[in-house]
Protein backbone atom coordinates (compact mmCIF):
# COMPACT_ATOMS: atom_id res chain seq x y z
CA UNK A 1 0.00 0.00 0.00
CA UNK A 2 2.80 2.38 0.90
CA UNK A 3 4.74 1.65 -2.25
CA UNK A 4 1.57 2.34 -4.23
CA UNK A 5 1.09 5.71 -2.48
CA UNK A 6 4.72 6.50 -3.15
CA UNK A 7 4.25 5.68 -6.83
CA UNK A 8 1.22 7.97 -6.99
CA UNK A 9 3.05 10.79 -5.23
CA UNK A 10 6.06 10.45 -7.55
CA UNK A 11 3.85 10.38 -10.63
CA UNK A 12 1.92 13.43 -9.49
CA UNK A 13 5.09 15.35 -8.64
CA UNK A 14 6.48 14.55 -12.08
CA UNK A 15 3.27 15.77 -13.73
CA UNK A 16 3.35 19.03 -11.75
CA UNK A 17 7.01 19.58 -12.57
CA UNK A 18 6.63 18.78 -16.27
CA UNK A 19 5.60 22.19 -17.67
CA UNK A 20 8.43 23.92 -15.84
CA UNK A 21 10.93 21.74 -17.65
CA UNK A 22 9.21 21.12 -20.96
CA UNK A 23 7.22 23.87 -22.65
CA UNK A 24 6.62 22.83 -26.23
CA UNK A 25 3.21 24.55 -26.75
CA UNK A 26 1.65 21.97 -29.04
CA UNK A 27 2.48 19.10 -26.72
CA UNK A 28 1.28 21.04 -23.70
CA UNK A 29 -1.94 21.77 -25.60
CA UNK A 30 -2.42 18.06 -26.20
CA UNK A 31 -1.78 17.33 -22.54
CA UNK A 32 -4.36 19.92 -21.42
CA UNK A 33 -6.93 18.40 -23.78
CA UNK A 34 -6.11 14.92 -22.54
CA UNK A 35 -6.51 16.02 -18.91
CA UNK A 36 -9.83 17.80 -19.50
CA UNK A 37 -11.27 14.91 -21.48
CA UNK A 38 -9.87 12.41 -18.97
CA UNK A 39 -11.81 14.24 -16.30
CA UNK A 40 -14.97 14.16 -18.46
CA UNK A 41 -14.55 10.44 -19.11
CA UNK A 42 -13.89 9.78 -15.43
CA UNK A 43 -17.11 11.64 -14.67
CA UNK A 44 -19.01 9.39 -17.06
CA UNK A 45 -17.49 6.22 -15.64
CA UNK A 46 -18.51 7.19 -12.09
CA UNK A 47 -22.01 6.05 -13.04
CA UNK A 48 -21.22 4.02 -16.16
CA UNK A 49 -19.31 1.41 -14.20
CA UNK A 50 -22.49 0.49 -12.39
CA UNK A 51 -24.36 -0.30 -15.56
CA UNK A 52 -25.95 3.17 -15.73
CA UNK A 53 -24.93 3.69 -19.34
CA UNK A 54 -25.74 7.28 -20.22
CA UNK A 55 -25.65 8.73 -23.71
CA UNK A 56 -26.79 12.03 -22.23
CA UNK A 57 -23.46 13.22 -20.94
CA UNK A 58 -22.84 15.25 -24.06
CA UNK A 59 -25.89 17.19 -22.89
CA UNK A 60 -24.43 17.83 -19.44
CA UNK A 61 -21.14 18.89 -20.96
CA UNK A 62 -22.97 21.23 -23.32
CA UNK A 63 -24.93 22.78 -20.46
CA UNK A 64 -21.68 23.31 -18.54
CA UNK A 65 -20.00 25.00 -21.49
CA UNK A 66 -22.88 27.07 -22.86
CA UNK A 67 -24.35 28.28 -19.56
CA UNK A 68 -20.92 29.48 -18.44
CA UNK A 69 -20.24 31.24 -21.75
CA UNK A 70 -23.74 32.74 -22.08
CA UNK A 71 -23.68 34.14 -18.55
CA UNK A 72 -20.30 35.72 -19.24
CA UNK A 73 -21.19 37.25 -22.61
CA UNK A 74 -24.74 38.40 -21.91
CA UNK A 75 -24.73 39.20 -18.20
CA UNK A 76 -21.04 39.63 -17.51
CA UNK A 77 -21.12 36.96 -14.82
CA UNK A 78 -17.62 35.75 -14.01
CA UNK A 79 -16.99 32.08 -14.76
CA UNK A 80 -16.14 31.71 -11.08
CA UNK A 81 -19.88 32.12 -10.48
CA UNK A 82 -20.98 30.97 -13.93
CA UNK A 83 -19.35 27.55 -13.63
CA UNK A 84 -21.08 26.65 -10.35
CA UNK A 85 -24.37 27.93 -11.84
CA UNK A 86 -23.85 25.82 -14.95
CA UNK A 87 -23.19 22.82 -12.74
CA UNK A 88 -26.40 23.50 -10.83
CA UNK A 89 -28.25 23.69 -14.15
CA UNK A 90 -26.78 20.38 -15.32
CA UNK A 91 -27.55 18.82 -11.95
CA UNK A 92 -31.16 19.99 -12.13
CA UNK A 93 -31.43 18.63 -15.67
CA UNK A 94 -29.98 15.30 -14.49
CA UNK A 95 -32.54 15.07 -11.68
CA UNK A 96 -35.45 15.97 -13.96
CA UNK A 97 -34.49 13.24 -16.42
CA UNK A 98 -33.21 10.61 -14.01
CA UNK A 99 -35.82 10.77 -11.25
CA UNK A 100 -38.74 9.53 -13.37
CA UNK A 101 -36.43 6.90 -14.92
CA UNK A 102 -35.37 5.54 -11.58
CA UNK A 103 -38.74 5.91 -9.90
CA UNK A 104 -40.47 3.95 -12.66
CA UNK A 105 -37.56 1.57 -13.09
CA UNK A 106 -36.54 2.43 -16.58
CA UNK A 107 -33.28 0.50 -16.77
CA UNK A 108 -30.93 -1.08 -19.29
CA UNK A 109 -31.55 -0.25 -22.92
CA UNK A 110 -34.51 1.96 -22.12
CA UNK A 111 -32.42 4.13 -19.84
CA UNK A 112 -29.82 4.44 -22.62
CA UNK A 113 -32.55 5.59 -25.01
CA UNK A 114 -33.92 8.20 -22.60
CA UNK A 115 -30.45 9.64 -22.07
CA UNK A 116 -29.81 9.57 -25.81
CA UNK A 117 -32.88 11.75 -26.21
CA UNK A 118 -31.45 14.14 -23.61
CA UNK A 119 -28.32 14.61 -25.74
CA UNK A 120 -30.50 15.28 -28.76
CA UNK A 121 -32.67 17.78 -26.91
CA UNK A 122 -29.75 19.81 -25.59
CA UNK A 123 -28.30 19.89 -29.10
CA UNK A 124 -31.62 21.03 -30.56
CA UNK A 125 -31.99 23.76 -27.95
CA UNK A 126 -28.50 25.07 -28.72
CA UNK A 127 -29.14 25.16 -32.47
CA UNK A 128 -32.69 26.50 -32.14
CA UNK A 129 -31.62 29.44 -29.97
CA UNK A 130 -28.94 30.44 -32.47
CA UNK A 131 -29.55 34.14 -31.84
CA UNK A 132 -27.97 33.66 -28.43
CA UNK A 133 -25.78 30.59 -28.82
CA UNK A 134 -24.53 30.98 -32.36
CA UNK A 135 -26.22 27.72 -33.27
CA UNK A 136 -24.15 25.17 -35.14
CA UNK A 137 -21.57 27.81 -36.07
CA UNK A 138 -20.31 27.78 -32.52
CA UNK A 139 -19.85 30.37 -29.83
CA UNK A 140 -16.95 32.33 -28.43
CA UNK A 141 -16.78 33.81 -24.93
CA UNK A 142 -15.84 37.50 -25.02
CA UNK A 143 -12.10 37.88 -24.75
CA UNK A 144 -10.42 39.90 -22.07
CA UNK A 145 -7.10 41.59 -22.76
CA UNK A 146 -4.39 39.13 -21.77
CA UNK A 147 -4.71 36.78 -18.85
CA UNK A 148 -7.35 37.59 -16.30
CA UNK A 149 -8.09 35.57 -13.23
CA UNK A 150 -11.60 36.95 -12.81
CA UNK A 151 -12.56 35.98 -16.35
CA UNK A 152 -10.73 32.66 -16.04
CA UNK A 153 -8.86 33.41 -19.22
CA UNK A 154 -5.16 32.71 -19.44
CA UNK A 155 -2.83 33.10 -22.36
CA UNK A 156 -0.16 30.72 -21.25
CA UNK A 157 -0.58 27.00 -21.52
CA UNK A 158 1.24 26.26 -18.26
CA UNK A 159 -1.53 27.82 -16.17
CA UNK A 160 -4.12 25.81 -18.03
CA UNK A 161 -2.07 22.68 -17.70
CA UNK A 162 -1.94 23.11 -13.93
CA UNK A 163 -5.67 23.88 -13.69
CA UNK A 164 -6.54 20.84 -15.79
CA UNK A 165 -4.15 18.69 -13.78
CA UNK A 166 -5.76 19.81 -10.52
CA UNK A 167 -9.28 19.06 -11.77
CA UNK A 168 -8.19 15.70 -13.18
CA UNK A 169 -6.69 14.71 -9.81
CA UNK A 170 -9.92 15.81 -8.11
CA UNK A 171 -11.83 13.55 -10.50
CA UNK A 172 -9.64 10.59 -9.58
CA UNK A 173 -10.09 11.33 -5.89
CA UNK A 174 -13.88 11.42 -6.29
CA UNK A 175 -13.69 8.14 -8.20
CA UNK A 176 -11.68 6.63 -5.36
CA UNK A 177 -14.00 8.06 -2.72
CA UNK A 178 -17.00 6.44 -4.42
CA UNK A 179 -15.05 3.22 -4.90
CA UNK A 180 -14.33 2.95 -1.19
CA UNK A 181 -17.73 4.08 0.02
CA UNK A 182 -20.67 1.92 0.96
CA UNK A 183 -22.42 3.49 -2.03
CA UNK A 184 -20.28 1.35 -4.29
CA UNK A 185 -21.59 -1.80 -2.59
CA UNK A 186 -25.11 -0.47 -2.96
CA UNK A 187 -24.64 0.43 -6.62
CA UNK A 188 -23.02 -2.93 -7.45
CA UNK A 189 -25.99 -4.61 -5.76
CA UNK A 190 -28.49 -2.39 -7.60
CA UNK A 191 -26.82 -3.08 -10.94
CA UNK A 192 -27.33 -6.80 -10.37
CA UNK A 193 -30.76 -6.94 -8.77
CA UNK A 194 -32.79 -3.91 -7.71
CA UNK A 195 -35.35 -5.86 -5.69
CA UNK A 196 -32.72 -7.72 -3.74
CA UNK A 197 -30.87 -4.47 -3.09
CA UNK A 198 -34.09 -2.91 -1.79
CA UNK A 199 -34.62 -5.94 0.44
CA UNK A 200 -31.20 -5.23 1.94
CA UNK A 201 -32.56 -1.80 2.90
CA UNK A 202 -31.03 0.20 0.05
CA UNK A 203 -33.08 3.17 -1.14
CA UNK A 204 -32.55 2.25 -4.78
CA UNK A 205 -33.92 5.46 -6.31
CA UNK A 206 -31.94 7.71 -3.98
CA UNK A 207 -28.65 5.86 -4.47
CA UNK A 208 -28.97 5.96 -8.24
CA UNK A 209 -29.88 9.65 -8.18
CA UNK A 210 -26.90 10.42 -5.97
CA UNK A 211 -24.39 8.79 -8.31
CA UNK A 212 -26.05 10.34 -11.38
CA UNK A 213 -25.94 13.78 -9.80
CA UNK A 214 -22.24 13.49 -8.95
CA UNK A 215 -21.51 12.36 -12.49
CA UNK A 216 -23.56 15.15 -14.12
CA UNK A 217 -22.01 17.90 -11.96
CA UNK A 218 -18.50 16.71 -12.82
CA UNK A 219 -19.32 16.48 -16.52
CA UNK A 220 -20.69 20.04 -16.56
CA UNK A 221 -17.47 21.23 -14.96
CA UNK A 222 -15.52 19.46 -17.70
CA UNK A 223 -17.62 21.25 -20.33
CA UNK A 224 -17.09 24.64 -18.71
CA UNK A 225 -13.35 24.08 -18.46
CA UNK A 226 -13.17 23.02 -22.07
CA UNK A 227 -14.99 26.21 -23.01
CA UNK A 228 -12.69 28.43 -20.99
CA UNK A 229 -9.60 26.74 -22.37
CA UNK A 230 -10.53 26.55 -26.05
CA UNK A 231 -12.46 29.84 -26.02
CA UNK A 232 -14.65 28.35 -28.68
CA UNK A 233 -17.49 25.89 -28.32
CA UNK A 234 -19.82 24.35 -30.84
CA UNK A 235 -22.54 21.75 -30.52
CA UNK A 236 -20.28 19.24 -32.25
CA UNK A 237 -17.37 19.58 -29.85
CA UNK A 238 -19.00 19.81 -26.43
CA UNK A 239 -22.53 18.60 -26.84
CA UNK A 240 -24.70 16.23 -28.72
CA UNK A 241 -24.71 12.55 -29.40
CA UNK A 242 -21.23 12.34 -30.95
CA UNK A 243 -19.64 13.61 -27.75
CA UNK A 244 -21.72 11.18 -25.68
CA UNK A 245 -20.64 8.27 -27.86
CA UNK A 246 -17.04 9.38 -27.69
CA UNK A 247 -17.21 9.18 -23.88
CA UNK A 248 -18.56 5.65 -23.95
CA UNK A 249 -15.95 4.62 -26.49
CA UNK A 250 -13.01 6.12 -24.62
CA UNK A 251 -14.03 4.66 -21.28
CA UNK A 252 -14.58 1.17 -22.68
CA UNK A 253 -11.27 1.25 -24.52
CA UNK A 254 -9.35 2.49 -21.48
CA UNK A 255 -11.11 0.40 -18.86
CA UNK A 256 -14.43 0.90 -17.19
CA UNK A 257 -13.65 -0.57 -13.80
CA UNK A 258 -10.28 0.99 -12.99
CA UNK A 259 -9.69 4.58 -11.91
CA UNK A 260 -7.14 5.40 -14.61
CA UNK A 261 -9.07 3.59 -17.34
CA UNK A 262 -10.87 6.72 -18.61
CA UNK A 263 -7.53 8.55 -18.66
CA UNK A 264 -5.96 5.84 -20.81
CA UNK A 265 -9.04 6.10 -23.02
CA UNK A 266 -8.56 9.86 -23.37
CA UNK A 267 -4.89 9.47 -24.30
CA UNK A 268 -5.78 6.94 -26.99
CA UNK A 269 -8.73 8.82 -28.49
CA UNK A 270 -7.02 12.21 -28.57
CA UNK A 271 -3.78 10.85 -30.02
CA UNK A 272 -5.78 8.90 -32.58
CA UNK A 273 -7.70 12.01 -33.62
CA UNK A 274 -4.48 14.04 -33.85
CA UNK A 275 -2.63 11.40 -35.84
CA UNK A 276 -5.49 11.20 -38.33
CA UNK A 277 -5.70 14.98 -38.52
CA UNK A 278 -1.99 15.49 -39.11
CA UNK A 279 -1.43 12.38 -41.21
CA UNK A 280 -4.35 12.72 -43.56
CA UNK A 281 -5.51 16.28 -43.06
CA UNK A 282 -8.88 17.23 -44.45
CA UNK A 283 -9.08 13.95 -46.37
CA UNK A 284 -9.60 12.18 -43.04
CA UNK A 285 -12.44 14.30 -41.66
CA UNK A 286 -14.76 11.96 -39.83
CA UNK A 287 -12.37 9.02 -40.05
CA UNK A 288 -11.80 9.05 -36.31
CA UNK A 289 -15.47 8.29 -35.77
CA UNK A 290 -15.20 5.36 -38.15
CA UNK A 291 -12.15 4.02 -36.36
CA UNK A 292 -13.90 4.54 -32.99
CA UNK A 293 -16.86 2.50 -34.16
CA UNK A 294 -14.78 -0.41 -35.39
CA UNK A 295 -12.58 -0.38 -32.29
CA UNK A 296 -15.62 -0.21 -30.01
CA UNK A 297 -17.00 -3.43 -31.44
CA UNK A 298 -13.60 -5.12 -31.23
CA UNK A 299 -13.12 -4.04 -27.63
CA UNK A 300 -16.56 -5.05 -26.39
CA UNK A 301 -16.03 -8.52 -27.85
CA UNK A 302 -12.36 -9.16 -27.04
CA UNK A 303 -11.34 -6.78 -24.24
CA UNK A 304 -14.49 -5.84 -22.28
CA UNK A 305 -12.40 -4.63 -19.35
CA UNK A 306 -10.48 -2.25 -21.59
CA UNK A 307 -6.75 -1.88 -22.10
CA UNK A 308 -5.79 -0.82 -18.58
CA UNK A 309 -8.28 -3.16 -16.91
CA UNK A 310 -6.91 -6.14 -18.82
CA UNK A 311 -3.29 -5.21 -18.13
CA UNK A 312 -3.96 -4.82 -14.40
CA UNK A 313 -5.77 -8.17 -14.35
CA UNK A 314 -2.65 -9.85 -15.73
CA UNK A 315 -0.63 -8.56 -12.79
CA UNK A 316 -3.11 -9.55 -10.15
CA UNK A 317 -3.09 -13.11 -8.93
CA UNK A 318 -6.60 -12.72 -7.56
CA UNK A 319 -8.66 -10.49 -9.83
CA UNK A 320 -11.03 -8.26 -7.97
CA UNK A 321 -14.12 -7.04 -9.81
CA UNK A 322 -13.85 -3.51 -8.53
CA UNK A 323 -10.28 -2.80 -9.51
CA UNK A 324 -8.18 -0.64 -7.23
CA UNK A 325 -7.19 2.94 -7.75
Amino acid sequence: MNSRNAAWATGLAALIALPFVYREPYHLHLLVLILIWSFAYTSWSIMGRFGLVSLGHGGFMGVGAYVTALLWNHLGVSPWIGIPLSMVAAGALALVVAYPCFRFRITGHYFVLVTLALSGIVLQVITATRDYTGGSLGYTPNRTKGSQLLALQFDDKVTWYLIALFVWVMGLLIWRWVDRSMSRYAMEAISEDEDAAAAAGVNVTAEKLKITLISALMTALAGALYCQYQMFISPDTVSGIAVSLQMVFAVIVGGLYVSLGPTVGAIITILLAEILRIGFGTKAVGWDNLVYGVLLVVFIIFLPKGILGSILDRFKTQPKPSGTP
Partner: protein, 255 residues
Protein backbone atom coordinates in the same frame (compact mmCIF):
# COMPACT_ATOMS: atom_id res chain seq x y z
CA UNK B 1 -46.85 -7.49 16.31
CA UNK B 2 -48.22 -7.77 12.77
CA UNK B 3 -51.91 -7.35 11.98
CA UNK B 4 -53.02 -7.92 8.42
CA UNK B 5 -56.59 -7.01 7.64
CA UNK B 6 -58.53 -7.63 4.44
CA UNK B 7 -55.45 -7.78 2.25
CA UNK B 8 -56.19 -7.88 -1.49
CA UNK B 9 -53.90 -7.92 -4.50
CA UNK B 10 -55.18 -7.86 -8.06
CA UNK B 11 -53.10 -8.12 -11.21
CA UNK B 12 -55.44 -6.85 -13.90
CA UNK B 13 -58.51 -9.06 -13.68
CA UNK B 14 -56.75 -11.75 -11.68
CA UNK B 15 -57.04 -11.69 -7.91
CA UNK B 16 -53.87 -13.23 -6.49
CA UNK B 17 -54.73 -12.53 -2.86
CA UNK B 18 -58.33 -12.13 -1.79
CA UNK B 19 -59.32 -10.64 1.53
CA UNK B 20 -56.72 -12.31 3.73
CA UNK B 21 -56.51 -11.35 7.40
CA UNK B 22 -54.19 -12.71 10.06
CA UNK B 23 -52.16 -11.76 13.08
CA UNK B 24 -48.64 -12.64 14.11
CA UNK B 25 -47.76 -12.48 17.80
CA UNK B 26 -44.40 -11.46 19.18
CA UNK B 27 -41.97 -14.41 19.32
CA UNK B 28 -43.96 -16.96 17.37
CA UNK B 29 -43.16 -18.82 14.19
CA UNK B 30 -46.10 -18.75 11.80
CA UNK B 31 -46.02 -21.22 8.94
CA UNK B 32 -47.62 -20.09 5.68
CA UNK B 33 -48.34 -22.94 3.31
CA UNK B 34 -50.29 -23.55 0.17
CA UNK B 35 -49.87 -25.00 -3.29
CA UNK B 36 -48.00 -23.15 -6.05
CA UNK B 37 -49.82 -20.00 -7.06
CA UNK B 38 -51.85 -19.82 -3.88
CA UNK B 39 -50.65 -16.30 -3.11
CA UNK B 40 -47.97 -16.92 -0.48
CA UNK B 41 -45.22 -15.04 -2.23
CA UNK B 42 -47.62 -12.25 -3.22
CA UNK B 43 -48.45 -11.74 0.47
CA UNK B 44 -44.73 -11.68 1.27
CA UNK B 45 -44.09 -9.17 -1.46
CA UNK B 46 -46.77 -6.90 -0.02
CA UNK B 47 -45.46 -7.29 3.53
CA UNK B 48 -41.95 -6.38 2.36
CA UNK B 49 -43.03 -3.52 0.11
CA UNK B 50 -42.11 -5.04 -3.25
CA UNK B 51 -45.80 -4.93 -4.19
CA UNK B 52 -48.43 -2.38 -3.22
CA UNK B 53 -51.66 -3.89 -1.85
CA UNK B 54 -54.82 -3.26 -3.89
CA UNK B 55 -56.79 -3.03 -0.65
CA UNK B 56 -56.49 -3.82 3.03
CA UNK B 57 -54.13 -2.78 5.76
CA UNK B 58 -50.85 -4.06 7.16
CA UNK B 59 -50.13 -2.84 10.67
CA UNK B 60 -46.62 -3.49 11.97
CA UNK B 61 -46.16 -2.59 15.63
CA UNK B 62 -49.19 -0.36 15.36
CA UNK B 63 -48.26 1.62 12.26
CA UNK B 64 -49.46 1.14 8.71
CA UNK B 65 -46.75 -0.09 6.33
CA UNK B 66 -48.85 -1.20 3.34
CA UNK B 67 -47.52 0.41 0.17
CA UNK B 68 -44.38 1.82 1.78
CA UNK B 69 -41.20 1.46 -0.27
CA UNK B 70 -39.15 -1.67 0.56
CA UNK B 71 -36.20 0.13 2.12
CA UNK B 72 -38.46 1.91 4.61
CA UNK B 73 -40.12 -1.34 5.59
CA UNK B 74 -36.76 -3.05 5.99
CA UNK B 75 -35.58 -0.16 8.15
CA UNK B 76 -38.69 -0.37 10.31
CA UNK B 77 -37.67 -3.88 11.34
CA UNK B 78 -38.89 -6.42 8.80
CA UNK B 79 -36.30 -8.61 7.09
CA UNK B 80 -36.93 -10.90 4.15
CA UNK B 81 -35.34 -13.70 2.19
CA UNK B 82 -36.21 -14.57 -1.39
CA UNK B 83 -37.55 -17.90 -2.57
CA UNK B 84 -34.63 -18.23 -4.98
CA UNK B 85 -31.47 -16.82 -3.37
CA UNK B 86 -30.47 -13.51 -4.89
CA UNK B 87 -26.86 -12.89 -3.89
CA UNK B 88 -24.82 -10.03 -5.33
CA UNK B 89 -22.09 -11.79 -7.30
CA UNK B 90 -19.91 -8.72 -7.66
CA UNK B 91 -19.55 -8.48 -3.88
CA UNK B 92 -17.86 -10.95 -1.55
CA UNK B 93 -19.97 -12.96 0.89
CA UNK B 94 -19.00 -10.60 3.67
CA UNK B 95 -19.76 -7.49 1.59
CA UNK B 96 -23.18 -8.90 0.70
CA UNK B 97 -24.07 -9.13 4.36
CA UNK B 98 -22.31 -5.91 5.38
CA UNK B 99 -24.36 -4.04 2.75
CA UNK B 100 -27.54 -5.26 4.43
CA UNK B 101 -26.08 -4.34 7.81
CA UNK B 102 -25.27 -0.83 6.61
CA UNK B 103 -28.48 0.11 4.82
CA UNK B 104 -30.90 -2.27 6.51
CA UNK B 105 -30.41 -0.99 10.03
CA UNK B 106 -30.79 2.58 8.93
CA UNK B 107 -27.80 3.60 11.03
CA UNK B 108 -25.39 4.02 8.12
CA UNK B 109 -22.41 3.21 10.27
CA UNK B 110 -19.65 1.12 8.78
CA UNK B 111 -18.54 -0.28 12.13
CA UNK B 112 -22.06 -1.37 13.04
CA UNK B 113 -22.52 -2.87 9.58
CA UNK B 114 -19.36 -4.98 9.88
CA UNK B 115 -20.36 -6.05 13.35
CA UNK B 116 -23.85 -7.05 12.19
CA UNK B 117 -22.34 -8.92 9.26
CA UNK B 118 -19.99 -10.91 11.50
CA UNK B 119 -22.81 -11.81 13.87
CA UNK B 120 -25.20 -12.82 11.09
CA UNK B 121 -22.58 -14.91 9.29
CA UNK B 122 -21.61 -16.66 12.52
CA UNK B 123 -25.28 -17.31 13.27
CA UNK B 124 -25.93 -19.08 9.97
CA UNK B 125 -22.53 -20.75 9.98
CA UNK B 126 -20.78 -19.07 7.05
CA UNK B 127 -17.16 -17.95 6.94
CA UNK B 128 -16.50 -14.36 8.02
CA UNK B 129 -13.55 -14.15 5.64
CA UNK B 130 -13.80 -10.71 4.03
CA UNK B 131 -12.88 -11.80 0.53
CA UNK B 132 -14.58 -15.20 0.11
CA UNK B 133 -16.50 -15.20 -3.16
CA UNK B 134 -20.20 -15.92 -3.50
CA UNK B 135 -19.46 -18.18 -6.48
CA UNK B 136 -18.04 -20.86 -4.21
CA UNK B 137 -21.36 -21.42 -2.43
CA UNK B 138 -23.67 -24.34 -3.13
CA UNK B 139 -27.46 -24.35 -2.79
CA UNK B 140 -27.33 -24.69 1.01
CA UNK B 141 -24.66 -22.01 1.29
CA UNK B 142 -26.70 -19.57 -0.81
CA UNK B 143 -29.73 -20.12 1.41
CA UNK B 144 -27.57 -19.40 4.43
CA UNK B 145 -26.26 -16.23 2.80
CA UNK B 146 -29.81 -15.15 2.02
CA UNK B 147 -30.70 -15.63 5.67
CA UNK B 148 -27.57 -13.83 6.87
CA UNK B 149 -28.44 -10.82 4.68
CA UNK B 150 -31.91 -10.68 6.19
CA UNK B 151 -30.56 -11.04 9.74
CA UNK B 152 -27.98 -8.30 9.23
CA UNK B 153 -30.77 -5.79 8.65
CA UNK B 154 -31.65 -6.29 12.32
CA UNK B 155 -35.23 -7.48 11.88
CA UNK B 156 -37.84 -7.89 14.58
CA UNK B 157 -39.94 -9.84 12.10
CA UNK B 158 -38.32 -12.18 9.59
CA UNK B 159 -40.12 -13.18 6.41
CA UNK B 160 -38.50 -16.44 5.29
CA UNK B 161 -39.62 -17.39 1.78
CA UNK B 162 -39.49 -21.12 0.97
CA UNK B 163 -36.10 -21.40 2.47
CA UNK B 164 -35.82 -25.16 1.99
CA UNK B 165 -36.30 -25.58 -1.74
CA UNK B 166 -33.39 -27.44 -3.32
CA UNK B 167 -31.96 -28.89 -0.11
CA UNK B 168 -31.54 -32.53 0.87
CA UNK B 169 -33.09 -34.07 4.02
CA UNK B 170 -30.23 -33.31 6.36
CA UNK B 171 -29.86 -29.76 5.09
CA UNK B 172 -33.61 -29.24 5.46
CA UNK B 173 -33.50 -30.33 9.09
CA UNK B 174 -30.53 -28.06 9.71
CA UNK B 175 -32.29 -25.12 8.08
CA UNK B 176 -35.46 -25.69 10.10
CA UNK B 177 -33.36 -25.90 13.24
CA UNK B 178 -31.70 -22.63 12.21
CA UNK B 179 -35.02 -20.79 12.08
CA UNK B 180 -35.92 -22.10 15.51
CA UNK B 181 -32.53 -20.97 16.81
CA UNK B 182 -33.04 -17.52 15.33
CA UNK B 183 -36.35 -17.21 17.14
CA UNK B 184 -35.07 -18.66 20.44
CA UNK B 185 -31.71 -16.89 20.62
CA UNK B 186 -32.41 -13.60 18.88
CA UNK B 187 -36.08 -13.32 19.79
CA UNK B 188 -37.04 -12.68 16.17
CA UNK B 189 -40.62 -13.37 15.16
CA UNK B 190 -40.82 -15.41 11.96
CA UNK B 191 -43.28 -15.99 9.13
CA UNK B 192 -42.11 -18.99 7.21
CA UNK B 193 -43.42 -19.69 3.73
CA UNK B 194 -42.81 -23.19 2.51
CA UNK B 195 -44.34 -25.87 0.43
CA UNK B 196 -42.51 -28.78 1.96
CA UNK B 197 -45.00 -29.39 4.73
CA UNK B 198 -43.31 -32.03 6.86
CA UNK B 199 -40.34 -30.16 8.25
CA UNK B 200 -42.29 -26.95 8.64
CA UNK B 201 -44.97 -28.63 10.76
CA UNK B 202 -42.40 -29.66 13.36
CA UNK B 203 -41.05 -26.18 13.94
CA UNK B 204 -43.90 -23.69 13.60
CA UNK B 205 -46.27 -22.65 16.39
CA UNK B 206 -49.19 -22.02 14.08
CA UNK B 207 -49.95 -22.66 10.44
CA UNK B 208 -52.02 -20.72 7.95
CA UNK B 209 -53.07 -22.40 4.72
CA UNK B 210 -53.79 -20.53 1.49
CA UNK B 211 -55.50 -21.70 -1.64
CA UNK B 212 -56.28 -19.59 -4.69
CA UNK B 213 -55.45 -16.46 -2.74
CA UNK B 214 -57.78 -17.18 0.16
CA UNK B 215 -57.14 -18.33 3.67
CA UNK B 216 -58.76 -21.75 4.09
CA UNK B 217 -57.41 -22.86 7.45
CA UNK B 218 -55.41 -21.58 10.38
CA UNK B 219 -54.38 -23.09 13.69
CA UNK B 220 -52.04 -25.52 15.40
CA UNK B 221 -50.03 -27.71 12.99
CA UNK B 222 -51.71 -30.92 14.14
CA UNK B 223 -55.21 -29.46 13.74
CA UNK B 224 -54.50 -27.94 10.32
CA UNK B 225 -52.93 -31.13 8.97
CA UNK B 226 -56.11 -32.96 9.86
CA UNK B 227 -58.47 -30.33 8.39
CA UNK B 228 -60.33 -32.01 5.53
CA UNK B 229 -60.30 -28.81 3.42
CA UNK B 230 -56.54 -28.62 3.73
CA UNK B 231 -56.17 -32.27 2.88
CA UNK B 232 -58.30 -31.79 -0.18
CA UNK B 233 -56.78 -28.64 -1.68
CA UNK B 234 -53.26 -28.90 -0.52
CA UNK B 235 -52.44 -32.55 -0.18
CA UNK B 236 -54.85 -33.84 -2.77
CA UNK B 237 -57.00 -36.85 -2.01
CA UNK B 238 -54.09 -39.19 -1.51
CA UNK B 239 -54.92 -40.44 2.00
CA UNK B 240 -51.50 -41.90 2.69
CA UNK B 241 -49.58 -38.69 2.24
CA UNK B 242 -52.03 -36.63 4.29
CA UNK B 243 -51.84 -39.08 7.14
CA UNK B 244 -48.08 -39.06 6.90
CA UNK B 245 -48.09 -35.28 7.14
CA UNK B 246 -50.44 -35.38 10.10
CA UNK B 247 -48.20 -37.91 11.81
CA UNK B 248 -45.17 -35.75 11.08
CA UNK B 249 -46.92 -32.82 12.70
CA UNK B 250 -47.53 -34.79 15.88
CA UNK B 251 -43.87 -35.68 16.31
CA UNK B 252 -42.33 -33.83 19.25
CA UNK B 253 -40.43 -30.69 18.35
CA UNK B 254 -36.75 -30.95 17.68
CA UNK B 255 -36.77 -34.59 16.61
Amino acid sequence: MLTVDGLVKRFGGFTAVNNVSFRVEQGEILGLIGPNGSGKSTIFNMLSGTLTPSAGSILFNGSEIGGHPPHRIINSGIGRTFQIPRPFHRLSIFENVALAGYYGQGSHSRARADEAAERALAMVGLSTDRHASVDGLGAAGLKKLELAKALATGPKLLLADESLGGLDETEMDQAAEMLRKIRDELGITIIWVEHIMGVLMRVVDRVMVLDHGEKISEGLPSAVAGDPRVIEVYLGTDADSSQAAAAEARRPAGV
